[in-house]
């Protein structure tokens, strides 16, 4: 039976992975190719790369990074950040990306989803949504979670899927960075309204959080996290071993 996926997320700025702020308060960085190779060898099922640069030079460095990763690492790769046009899809797919994730670009222009789905197939288009509760309602935020779009999240996700998104990443702003576990309520709400794969993001702090995720939200397909992997608070082989022993179907390498 198909396995649940574990996905490390790498934010790339100026050609380097930004790991986040370390215990000394310094912005720690790593070599993207080395980190990707390590995660792949440890059993990551997929890698997500987000381009968090805003400059033209940074964008060029980012595609160079993608190309180097794709030359050496042979697991699925999803790429996001700054995807606003079909030409942006083309730019990253040519560098070896398998899937492209859209967020603010699709909020500005929902037609981007259908245009890309027609050109590259739905399996290539991932809708990434930053979601936060506002007055008890799930709302979509744009621009890295900074701006409340006023849109109802479940409605937006349903629309994105009907436009052709073949996968949804749900990033809960409410649980992100808190390390108290994934947003189970939000994820259950999303998996109950769409029939495409759903990836949970935001909130993982320890191995148990992934066990809870796959047990409590059986229709979720993957768990995504960043800093806990980067700082080795959770090691992928340990994580997959525990999940496997808990009866969750895992690919063990």
């Amino acid at each position: 039976m198909i396995t649940k996926r574990i996905i490390p997320c790498l934010d790339v700025r100026n050609g380097r992975v930004v790991k986040g702020v370390n215990f000394e308060g310094l912005n720690d960085v790593a070599d993207p190719v080395r980190l990707a190779a390590q995660y792949s060898a440890e059993g990551a099922d997929e890698l997500v790369f987000y381009d968090i640069t805003a400059t033209y030079e940074g964008r060029t460095l980012f595609t160079d990074v993608l190309r180097s990763v794709a030359e050496q690492i042979f697991i699925p790769m999803t790429v996001g950040g700054g995807i606003n046009t079909v030409e942006d899809f083309d730019r990253v797919l040519k560098c070896g990306a398998d899937k492209v994730s859209v967020n603010s670009g699709a909020i500005r222009n929902p037609g981007l989803i259908s245009e890309a789905a027609i050109k590259y197939g739905s399996q290539c288009v991932v809708l990434s949504a930053d979601v936060k509760r506002v007055d008890g309602v799930f709302r979509v935020f744009s621009h890295g979670g900074r701006i409340d779009t006023g849109m109802e999240a479940l409605e937006w996700i349903r629309q994105g899927v009907s436009l052709g998104a073949g996968e949804v990443v749900v990033n809960s702003i409410d649980t992100d960075g808190v390390k108290q576990g994934f947003d189970l309520k939000m994820l259950n709400a999303v998996t109950s309204i769409v029939d495409v794969p759903v990836i949970a993001s935001g909130g993982a702090g320890e191995i148990r959080d992934f066990v809870t995720l796959f047990t409590e939200v059986p229709d979720v397909d993957a768990g995504l996290a960043a800093s806990i992997f980067h700082f080795q608070e959770v090691k992928i082989p340990d994580l997959k071993e525990v999940l496997h022993r808990s009866g969750i179907n895992m690919r063990i390498v």
Binding site: M1, I2, T3, R5, S40, D45, A70, E71, Q72, F74, I75, P76, L93, K94, C95, G96, D98, G121, Q123, G166, E167, D195, V196, P197, D221, A222, R251, V253
Partner: protein
């Protein structure tokens, strides 16, 4: 040299890199003579069957692939490229394939149990039905990466491996020098590279 047939569908960058990472010489080409001069041929493909079959015919590369397969050259179809090897497909209508493997490509919709997501997207285990040199590096329970909504059926004579997704779906089919994988070996980590390297070693 391994020729990767370029007929205008899909992204062949990863496939070429995966072969090169194994120290193999690979060339992405739409030139018939390059394909004729290759030791082995890979037919890739993503997207819809009908479009891909049309493109393959428009470029005339369908005949080159058939001619090379009939001459006994090892041929590996990947994903939609594997489906194209069969007699026909029922993806959005009925479309003729290359007829190099017997069977038909049918939708998962209606044949797999309700509640399972379509496409099947992710890693799933190979269930080997008969030993084949293509799978000589594969161990029981090894997982490979699938992305598909249709699968080959009525192909008992060429069935090599399946994967379980509510029902058993054809994962590997082979008849003589003509082979196909429904999954993406170039995206299946070490297991996938092991399959590509086994393909490169199959006797011509």
């Amino acid at each position: 040299m391994i020729a990767i047939v370029d007929y205008g569908v899909g992204n062949l960058f990863s496939l070429r890199c995966s072969l090169e990472s194994l120290g193999l010489k690979a060339e992405v080409s739409s030139v018939p003579d390059v394909i004729r001069n290759a030791d082995r041929v890979i037919l890739p493909g993503v997207g819809a069957f009908g479009d891909a079959a049309d493109k393959l015919r428009e470029t005339g590369l369908d005949q080159v692939v058939i001619e090379q397969a009939e001459a006994g050259k090892p041929l590996l179809g990947i994903c939609l490229g594997m489906q194209l090897l069969f007699d026909k497909s029922y993806e959005f209508g009925e479309h003729a394939g290359l007829g190099l493997l017997h069977g038909q490509v049918i939708p998962m919709q209606g044949t797999i149990p309700a509640g399972l997501k379509i496409p099947q997207m992710g890693w799933n285990a190979l269930l080997v039905k008969r030993s084949h040199p293509l799978l000589k590096n594969v161990r029981e329970g090894d997982c490979v990466y699938f992305v598909h909504s249709y699968y080959a059926s009525d192909c008992e004579d060429s069935l090599v491996a399946t994967t379980e997704y509510g029902i058993e779906l054809t994962a590997v089919a082979a008849n003589g020098n003509v082979m196909g994988c429904q999954f993406h070996p170039e995206k299946s980590g070490k297991v996938g590279l092991g399959i590509l390297s086994a393909f490169a070693e199959i006797k011509t």
